[in-house]
């Protein structure tokens, strides 16, 4: 099979959703064009933006960082070490090795050092690891962005992630989350930095192929906590549809952004923020915490009494979680000593 673009080299990848097949060089051109169009379409980034790229060591986030650097954006990588045995060490190594090869040094936050490793925190509050993880990660995205005077936080969510989330949100008619699901969440009036997902137009397969062909060494194993993720079910359903009807995924997600956009400005946003039941999933798979300034428009935001982060409560969700872990450790220590 020949490349459909240059018509000379042998194709390395076929993309039924684009009725195309590309050689590696032409695929790089295609991929970057897709990302550039995605950025342009919803004005995710401006040329002068200082971008904090959240890297996990997986393919999507490392490819995102790679592409943004190639495009000339000023970027720094943020790695959050979740404190998950084995997996965290291995993914961290990949991030450091990648960054070094590009003459960079990632910003590293270690949750174990912060006193809030994810597995322990999840046990303390008897919640799913992923719910806790989401809250903690977002806390640091905002905090590091503020400290480092970044004006954008970029994550590696791709088309498969976003369309699976969309399907999940529709399935449960999560109006509040639907209203907020977008590759561009603008900076808030209270001072939260904008959040962008520049890979929203490219599929998981395309990102993996790009990472492989560019010889980006990423962790191929998944976070062990992800096995239970319901998003995998939605992904499976969508890939079945995609195989039968190539191009469905982008039609589904882009159609939502283009046609269902009125949701974003409707009154849903305000009413559901107050009434969303606890335990439902927010737009990035995070458990709904009503005092999280990113989740609602309820009342006036103020500074956390303990750390200064934006919150609707006395102290922010992160500080309360950390306090719970600390108390439980204290209790444990007493029990074993006495």
């Amino acid at each position: 099979m020949k490349c459909r673009r240059c018509r000379k080299a042998a194709a390395a990848i076929e993309l039924p959703s684009h009725h195309a097949a590309f050689c590696p060089e032409c695929f790089f051109v295609f991929f970057k064009k897709q990302v550039r169009e995605g950025i342009k379409k919803h004005r995710l980034l401006s040329p002068g933006d200082r971008v904090l790229v959240c890297v996990s060591g997986g393919k999507d986030s490392l490819v995102l960082w790679d592409v943004l650097m190639d495009m000339g954006y000023e970027t720094e990588g943020l790695y959050i070490d979740l404190g998950i045995e084995g997996y965290s060490d291995r993914s961290r190594e990949k991030v450091i090795a990648y960054a070094e090869a590009r003459g960079k040094q990632p910003i590293i936050v270690e949750l174990t050092k912060e006193g809030i490793p994810i597995p322990e925190a999840a046990r303390c509050v008897r919640m799913q690891e992923c719910s806790i993880c989401g809250t903690v990660k977002r806390y640091f995205f905002n905090r590091i962005a503020k400290e480092g005077r970044f004006n954008a936080v970029a994550t590696g969510h791709n088309l498969d992630d976003e369309s699976a989330r969309l399907l999940g949100n529709i399935f449960h008619w999560q109006r509040e989350h639907l209203a907020r699901q977008h590759p561009h969440l603008p900076a808030s009036a209270e001072g939260l930095v904008k959040k962008v997902k520049p890979l929203w137009r490219v599929s998981e397969l395309e990102t993996a192929a790009y990472g492989f062909l560019k010889e980006i060494d990423y962790v191929i194993e998944e976070c062990p906590m992800s096995e239970r993720a319901t998003s995998l079910v939605y992904k499976e359903v969508l890939s079945l549809i995609e195989e039968r009807m190539p191009g469905s995924r982008i039609v589904f997600y882009q159609g939502f952004l283009d046609k269902a956009n009125p949701l974003r400005t409707s009154e849903w946003k305000a009413t559901d923020a107050a009434s969303a039941p606890a335990g439902t999933l927010a737009d990035d798979g995070v458990e709904y915490t009503s005092d999280d300034p990113e989740n609602g428009t309820k009342g006036a935001a103020r500074s956390c009494a303990s750390c200064g982060a934006l919150t609707y409560a006395e102290t922010c969700a992160y500080c309360r979680l950390k306090e719970l872990v600390r108390k439980r450790r204290e209790k444990r220590a007493k029990e074993t000593n006495g």
């Binding site: 990848i13 097949a21 590696p24 992923c130 498969d160 397969l205 492989f212 194993e221 499976e236 890939s239």
Partner: protein, 95 residues
């Protein structure tokens, strides 16, 4: 006690499987070796086979994997011969 015995049985079964596999590799060096690094699994399939047929034999879904050989990415219609090794890498990220 019962449990111990069961465990022993399991490990013996594993050993046997391992032995067979090794033998398999020795005796059938001329098959296609398919590695699935995320599943930590390797299987051998008699060739020649197209990449899409190899994927089908593993039960994975074609749109969720890339198939590689050393530094090359293989298209679904690429023909793989006996004695070659390919990797089938899942592209699905969780969470």
């Amino acid at each position: 006690m019962v449990r111990k015995r069961a465990q022993r049985r399991v490990s013996r079964a594993k050993e046997a499987a391992h032995g067979n596999q090794r033998e398999g590799i020795l005796y059938n060096a001329e098959m296609i070796r398919v590695c699935m690094p995320q599943k930590k699994k390797e299987i051998e399939i008699p060739g020649p086979k197209r990449v899409m047929d190899l994927i089908a034999e593993t039960g994975m879904r074609p749109s969720t994997v890339i198939v590689t050989q050393e530094k090359k990415l293989l298209t679904k219609d690429h023909r793989v011969e006996d004695g070659e090794t390919v990797n089938i890498i899942s592209v699905v990220s969780g969470g």
